[in-house]
């Protein structure tokens, strides 16, 4: 291996051995991402730890809004309703399996997560005695880093053979507990963070275990109902973003051979993410843009998703006081902030209940999320390969009748479900133009984190 890959924002939680192990994990993801797109013949993705760029790479800052687009378009013109909807907890069983989950002796259980699917999640920390808000907390840390701390290398790669034996580590529960207590509070107990029994589905009278006893529980109460440490939405994973970046290096063309380049059609054509988010279409289109310019691309080290900035110009105290310094990065800093809080500093003469956001009393963290810009950084260099030949589409977009702002992706050549109609014109649903096979080639097994 070449250079090492740092943890997001270069946070200083890990010792040297763990740092090397984390680097190996990220490198394994990058290797899988390169394989995923069939190597340089089809895509233009590289692992900087394995093959450092031969020239100084260009950087591309890719930004998007933190408040979930899908919630906004589902509540047209009604910001208050959108913010309230964003604060409604969701359940992994219902969301992912459309079923009730159980634990122990058929005890129904929920695995809560947040509906915040733009890689920025928030928590409203209230005083248990008064119910008043003490702070609003935001994070963009993917779950894998915390799974890695909790359970080591094996928890975040499916295929351990991709990580050299000397670069693997076990979990560090002591570190996990210390960090949780620092971020959430002293009441956190180690047993709160791990499943105490199997979590399973019931299907045809049989149990299907989806989480094993002793496994780190990303949906533990201190990361959901009682606090916030890292991202919980099933789509908010760092590895998924790496894979999306890689998938987006494959150029695409429609049935008539015309390049597919705009963000909406591209994500549906290539099926590399969630079309209803602000983030995924934006990230994919920007990466694709670099490849069309002849560059081979990756993500800039330290690879992470970041709270880039917040526009505090709309925030004020009851008499117009400047409260911009109430926004305080807690992990990372500046444009590489991973976690931030909005809370009154020591000595403040008024509290959060007195703060206004563009004249509206601050009651929900979503009001702040609307002011946050998210970012990640792509890099690209000219490896002398030029742009790859375009591939055909494997999917196409359908939009909901009545609210075409909502999209879903279906396989190329297939029709849209009832209540949905083709999103971008009839041509896109036709069988794919294929300059080369549009399937993921057989190769090494894809390395993905162990989610859920």
């Amino acid at each position: 291996m070449g250079s090492t890959l740092a943890p997001p924002a270069n946070v200083g939680d890990l010792d040297e051995t763990q740092l090397q192990a984390w680097s190996a994990v990220v490198s394994a993801w990058l290797d899988s991402a390169v394989d995923r797109v069939g190597g340089p013949r089809r895509g233009r993705f590289f692992n900087a730890a394995r093959t450092p760029p031969t020239s100084t790479p260009a950087e591309r800052r890719i930004v998007w809004d933190a408040f979930p687009r899908v919630i906004t378009v589902s509540n047209p013109g009604n910001r208050a309703a959108a913010r309230a909807a964003a604060d409604e907890p969701a359940d992994l069983g219902t969301h992912r399996f459309r079923a009730q989950l159980f634990q122990g002796d058929d005890e129904p259980v929920k695995l809560p997560f947040r509906r915040h699917d733009e890689y920025c999640e928030w928590f409203t920390d209230r005083d248990p005695a008064t119910g008043s808000v003490r702070r609003f907390v935001f994070t963009c840390e993917g779950p894998e880093y915390w799974q890695f701390i909790a359970a080591g290398t094996a928890a975040v790669v499916d295929d351990l053979s991709q990580v050299p034996a000397e670069s693997r580590v076990d979990g560090d529960r002591e570190l996990l507990l210390r960090l949780y207590r620092e971020l959430v509070g002293p009441d956190v107990r180690e047993e709160d963070l791990f499943h105490q029994s199997d979590v399973y589905l019931r299907s045809g009278g049989r149990k299907r275990v989806i989480r094993q006893a002793g496994e780190y529980n990303p949906n533990n109460k201190w990361n959901t109902t009682h606090g916030l440490v890292h991202l919980t939405h099933p789509s908010n994973t760092l590895s998924a973003e790496i894979f999306l970046g890689a998938d987006a290096t494959v150029l695409r063309a429609g049935p008539d051979g015309t390049p597919v380049t705009d963000a909406g059609r591209l994500i549906c054509c290539a099926e590399y993410g969630e079309p209803n988010r602000s983030s995924d279409p934006t990230i994919g289109a920007d990466v694709n843009d670099l490849v069309r310019a002849g560059l081979t691309v990756s993500l800039r080290d330290p690879i992470g998703l970041y709270l880039d900035s917040i526009d505090t110009s709309g925030l004020s105290g009851p008499d117009g006081e400047d409260v911009s310094d109430w926004w305080r990065p807690v992990r990372g800093s500046g444009p590489l902030t991973l976690r931030a809080e909005f809370a009154p500093p020591a000595g403040a003469t008024f509290g959060l209940a007195d703060v206004r956001v563009n004249g509206v009393p601050l009651t929900r963290a979503g009001q702040l999320a609307e002011l946050i810009t998210m970012a990640l950084y792509g890099i690209g260099f000219d490896a002398g390969n030029g742009a790859p030949q375009p591939q055909g589409c494997t999917g196409h977009g359908c939009s909901q009748v009545g609210n075409p702002d909502l999209l879903q992706i279906v396989a190329a050549g297939s029709g849209c479900p009832d209540g949905w109609t083709d999103a971008f014109g009839a041509d896109d649903s036709a069988p794919a133009f294929t300059a080369m096979p549009a399937t993921v080639p057989a190769g090494r097994r894809l390395t993905r984190p162990s989610l859920p």
Binding site: R61, R79, G264, S278, G314, R356, N358, G359, S399, F424
Partner: protein
């Protein structure tokens, strides 16, 4: 990838569009007032128990004067085809959230969050403190805005006179006289108001509001009434009608559910924007000198058009009327239907990313807000008009633009254009330093305004445009005005003949 649209939309293509209630919609929204002069009068309701009665009494006087869209269209057609001017006075009326609450309709005041709290509270606009506003300062906020339009000053004087002593306990808190400048320029010398969206919709069973003309096949997948004349679903500007979708240029989104009294109404932004012509000229001349270019060239870069309105994105400097808006940024446009094509200008080589027309109307660009289809959903209907004399006539006079625009979502339309795009340097184009909109963009106090231009970056501490206040208002339909003035529901109001008074 290009979307599939017909080379030219025909009248038949428009038949699926909604019938517009032209006798209900105020003409200031559609089609706007083409008259050369306007008077804008702001009235303040009294406090306490008198509020509702005062508001109703005033609205009873004003409502019969309000010009419906059908009369406005007829007037516009007469001006265009027969060069008729001096055809009476047109009027429009808009109401503040405070007024709507006083009238017993908080649901209308809360139709839009920004309307509910008022422009003075929207600090993300980075306006001067509201206490320093000339229009709408605390205690003098406008509750009822009346817009009068005519060609002759005498007509405006006569129409305005009763409002200067409004009675019913109301107070005159604002009065502004505005007049279009020769050549429809604004005070910095650039032709203004060139780019406006056209509404989809029918004026009767067989006639679209915007006549459909032959079009070259467009690569951006949008629907156009004619070259450069993009069609949008009317719900983007009028409540209760199908909305523009953020994923489809052509298919509508369902109308947003709104109270019945909101139907065919719209949200009005009114701002008084003072223009410092001397500062603009001096500062841009200094910038031009530093970059070794002509001042006129630099000023055009800041605007995105030349003074005659020709867009920098087109190569030729003598575009015909049909070519002034026939261009894209991410996509080139083809020739055909009597217009010449234009190359794409994705990276701002000809029209800088910081140019005013590009910052606040990115056209076919993907933006930080999403795909290119979504960009259409941010567009507004502009109804601005200059005030004050030309600089050469009286350098010391107050002058500028009375900015007025219509939409149905203040945060996603006007505020987004100003807060997110004009005021922020990294938006709307992804992956690039766009720079600030140096015409209207504002930074935090003490922070320079900066923008990259083709020969190099420029930076200034000088504001060329200074917001002097204004208001967010709701412009109801005429039946809604009648109902509000009568304190009744929509079904219990009489009919009035549509006219210009």
């Amino acid at each position: 990838m290009t979307a599939t649209v017909p080379a030219a939309l025909t009248t038949a293509d428009a038949m699926g569009e909604p019938l517009l209630a032209l006798d209900d919609i105020q003409a200031h929204i559609v089609p706007g007032f083409p008259d050369t002069g306007q008077r804008i009068v702001g009235l303040r309701l009294p406090g306490g128990d008198q509020q509702a009665g005062a508001a109703r009494a005033m609205l009873r006087e004003l409502t019969p004067l309000v010009t419906p869209a059908r009369a406005g269209l007829r007037h516009r057609a007469l001006r265009r085809t027969m060069d008729v001017t001096g055809d009476g006075v047109a009027a429009a009326v808009a109401l503040s959230a405070r007024c709507l609450r006083a009238l017993g309709h908080p649901e209308l005041a809360d139709l839009d969050e920004a309307l509910g709290v008022g422009m003075g509270e929207r600090r993300s606009l980075r306006d001067p403190a509201k206490e320093d506003w000339e229009v709408g300062a605390p205690g003098s906020e406008i509750d009822i805005l009346v817009i009068l339009a005519a060609d002759e000053e005498a007509q405006l004087d006569a129409a305005e006179a009763p409002l200067l002593n409004p009675g019913h306990g109301l107070t005159l808190v604002h009065r502004e006289s505005a007049r279009r400048l020769p050549g429809d320029i604004e005070h910095f010398g650039f032709r203004d108001g060139i780019s406006q969206p056209s509404l989809r919709g029918l004026v009767d069973a067989g006639t679209p509001l915007a006549a459909r003309h032959p079009m070259p096949r467009m690569p951006d997948g949008r629907a156009y009434a004619r070259p450069g004349d993009v069609l949008l679903w009317p719900g983007q500007f009028l409540f209760g009608l199908p909305r523009q979708s953020s994923t489809s240029s052509t298919r509508p989104a369902d109308a947003r559910p709104v109270p019945e009294l909101a139907r065919n109404g719209s949200l009005l932004v009114y701002r008084k924007l003072a223009q410092d012509v001397a500062a603009f000229r001096d500062d841009t001349a200094a910038m031009a000198s530093a970059l070794s270019v002509e001042p006129a060239t630099l000023r055009s870069w800041l605007v995105g058009r030349r003074p005659d309105g020709s867009p920098l994105s087109r190569d030729e400097t003598d575009p015909g009327p049909g070519e002034l808006n026939h261009f894209g940024y991410d996509n080139g446009v083809p020739e055909g239907a009597g217009v010449r094509g234009a190359r794409a200008d994705a990276d701002g080589a000809r029209c800088p990313l910081a140019a005013h027309i590009r910052k606040v109307n990115p056209r076919d660009q993907e933006t930080d807000q999403g795909i290119q289809e979504n960009t259409l959903t941010t567009m507004i209907l502009r109804r601005g008009i200059p005030y004050g004399p030309l600089y050469e006539e009286d350098p010391d006079a107050d002058r500028g633009l009375l900015f007025l625009c219509y939409q149905t979502d203040l945060a996603r339309q006007f505020e987004l254009l100003v807060q997110r795009w004009a005021n922020l340097t990294d938006r709307p184009r992804q992956g690039s330093v766009n720079g600030l909109d140096l015409i209207i963009g504002r930074t935090r106090p003490g922070t320079p305004r900066q923008a990259p231009l083709p020969p190099g970056a420029v930076s200034t501490m000088v504001d060329y445009v200074l917001p002097k206040g204004g208001a967010y208002l709701f412009t109801p339909s005429i039946p809604a005005l009648r109902a509000l003035s009568a304190g009744s529901s929509l079904g219990n109001v009489g009919e009035c003949p549509p006219t210009r008074s």
